[in-house]
């Protein structure tokens, strides 16, 4: 176990190092010239000298490895400098947009669990029944929905035609209900399919047959035996989605006018803001790796024997 934990911690730092180098280098080498973007913000016809002056003042004339080293040192101090995209300290920007994304992702995951667990249990209770057939078709439709289109549909339905919610985000949790639902639809649709399959696999196992032979009903076998053993693949999937949701929520954030991490990241990429992009990428990567690690531990707690075997 000790070896496993030390291996996972080592992997955690290796992944973060790799992600930081790649994201910093790719934006630095192949992105647009940030000095030119900044100079042209104040003067659309900025001269070569003006652009060079901006480059020198922001330290962008230094070689990429030196900028990377300075950024890493700043990351440990908690100060990675000014964002070219917003002209504000990157950490200040992140302190504003991270809670928005965290609330959005947290509520999306809550939707995923609230909807997919009971629906999967209903499907597995009577496989090939009417409810199961309906859910199987509906889940394919749900997986195929583009989130931005679903977001617009929700806005038109529940903010314009029936003004239960507002078009601009309302303060508090109410402002996150529609965007988090739009973000979660393709995820819980996929989830239901995986969880249903996992539950049916367990229900087809010999221990489930023997439980039937002992007189237990399908419902009890499902909830008291199969459910726990069917969780590991679903927990793994949930944890993998966590990182994706943080960075991939940009489209939904845009539709619902939320200033989250996804929107900020897209803006930084467009502005060739390598410092901010790399910082965001490291945060998302850290969330992704930590979530996977947590998923692994949860699975070991849930099914120590099945996971080990």
């Amino acid at each position: 176990m000790k070896r496993y934990i030390s291996h996972r911690i080592l992997m955690f730092f290796l992944v973060l190092a790799g992600v930081s180098v790649l994201s910093f280098a790719l934006i630095g080498l192949f992105g647009r010239d940030p000095a030119e973007i900044i100079a042209r913000r104040t003067n659309i016809n900025a001269s070569y000298e003006q652009i060079e002056a901006v480059r020198q003042s922001m330290g962008l004339d230094k070689p990429l490895p030196a900028r990377y080293a300075a950024w890493i040192a700043g990351l440990f101090r908690g100060d990675v400098g000014i964002s070219i995209y917003t002209f504000k300290p990157v950490m200040e920007d992140l302190a504003q947009c991270f809670p928005v994304s965290a609330a959005l992702v947290g509520l999306s995951l809550a939707w995923v669990i609230i909807i997919s667990v009971p629906v999967s249990l209903i499907c597995a209770r009577r496989p090939d029944g009417a409810a199961d057939h309906f859910v199987r078709v509906a889940s394919v439709v749900g997986m195929s929905f583009p989130t931005f289109w679903l977001g617009f549909l929700l806005l038109i339905s529940f903010a314009v035609k029936r003004p239960i919610f507002t078009v601009l985000p309302a303060p508090g949790i109410k402002g996150y209900i529609l965007p988090s639902f739009a973000l979660s639809v393709p995820i819980f649709s996929g989830f239901i399919r995986v969880f249903r399959a996992s539950l049916l696999k367990e229900m087809g196992s010999e221990y489930a047959d023997f439980a039937r032979a002992r007189g237990l009903g399908r419902g009890r076998i499902l909830t008291h035996h199969a459910l726990r053993n069917a969780l590991p693949p679903v927990v793994t999937m949930l944890c993998q989605y966590l990182g994706y949701l943080f960075a991939g929520g940009a489209v939904v954030e845009n539709v619902f006018s939320l200033n989250g991490l996804g929107t900020y990241l897209v803006g930084c990429v467009a502005s060739a803001d390598s410092t901010s992009v790399a910082t965001c990428a490291v945060i998302v990567a850290a969330i992704f790796v930590l979530a996977n690690l947590a998923g692994d531990f949860v699975n070991r707690l849930l099914c120590p024997w099945t996971v080990r075997s």
């Binding site: 023997f210 032979a213 007189g215 009903g217």
Partner: protein
């Protein structure tokens, strides 16, 4: 007298209509044992699963499976618990996979008793410990606190027998319970089943091992490709087999006996 009466039981696969069991008929009553003998794939286990109502919709089952005057085929779900686990117990073939790997053995035994009896917690605990002891397990506390992966195949086989013993089932169906065991353990397990039968339970014992059948005694039906080819008292069938297939089984059994004697 409580008895299992199977008449003209036929089982086929719906996919290709292949016939797995062809018009199988037998009866076994209280205090009697009936041995279903045959090679792997001859239809023994699928017949047991049909009696237990465990066959999926992939199978088509015809004929009658009657226990104590009740037709078990098509038994409504709400009545299953009145028969299965309570009056009819199964001892499955593979002890390593028959129990939920995540749930402690004591808990799995307790849930069976809680479902079928009105006993209090302490009485259930007592009944579980007695059943485990009767099945030949000494350290009952450790067994109850263990998960299936922590016990050996032989111990798990005894746990499955203990589950059958704990509910005082009137009919016990043992599906090749000695397959994974060595000769010493096999004999011990067969003796547990003999005691169960002598205690008044009806016993349907499935095996491909003539030695186990001889030790248990009672009647035997020899099955081949889904059909009964010979039936009679175990000793008579062993002493003077009439069918070619039974003779082959007896020869194989004698050879393995000779080999085990030579080894010892």
């Amino acid at each position: 007298m409580k008895e299992l009466n199977v008449k003209e039981l036929s089982i086929r696969l719906k996919d290709d209509c292949s016939l797995l069991v062809d018009r199988l008929s037998f009866r076994v009553g209280s205090g009697e044992s009936l041995i279903l003998l045959g090679q792997s794939g001859c239809g023994k286990s699928v017949s047991c699963r049909a009696v237990m109502g465990l066959l999926s919709r992939r199978f088509r089952v015809d004929g009658s499976i009657c226990f104590d005057g009740t037709e078990l085929r098509g038994l409504p779900e709400r009545w299953r618990a009145d028969y299965y686990g309570k009056r009819i117990a199964l001892v499955p073939q593979n002890p390593m996979t028959a129990l939920n790997p995540s749930v402690k053995i004591g808990k799995q035994m307790d849930e069976t008793l809680r479902l079928h009896t009105r006993l209090g917690k302490a009485q259930r605990r007592e009944r579980i410990e007695k059943a485990l002891t009767d099945a030949g397990l000494a350290d009952t506390e450790r067994v109850c606190a263990s998960r299936p992966g922590m016990l050996s195949g032989g111990m798990l086989q005894r746990v499955l027998i203990a589950i059958a013993l704990s509910t005082d089932a009137e009919l016990v169906i043992a599906d090749e319970p000695t397959t994974a065991l060595d000769v010493v353990h096999r004999n011990e397990i067969v003796d547990v089943f003999a005691r169960l039968r002598d205690g008044g339970a009806a016993l349907l014992f499935v095996t491909h091992d003539f030695a186990a059948a001889l030790r248990l005694g009672g009647d035997v039906m020899v099955m081949r490709e889904g059909r009964i080819v010979e039936r009679g008292s175990t000793r008579e069938v062993y002493a003077s087999p009439r069918h070619e297939y039974t003779r082959a089984l007896v020869r194989a059994s004698s050879l393995s006996k000779g080999a085990s004697h030579a080894d010892s």
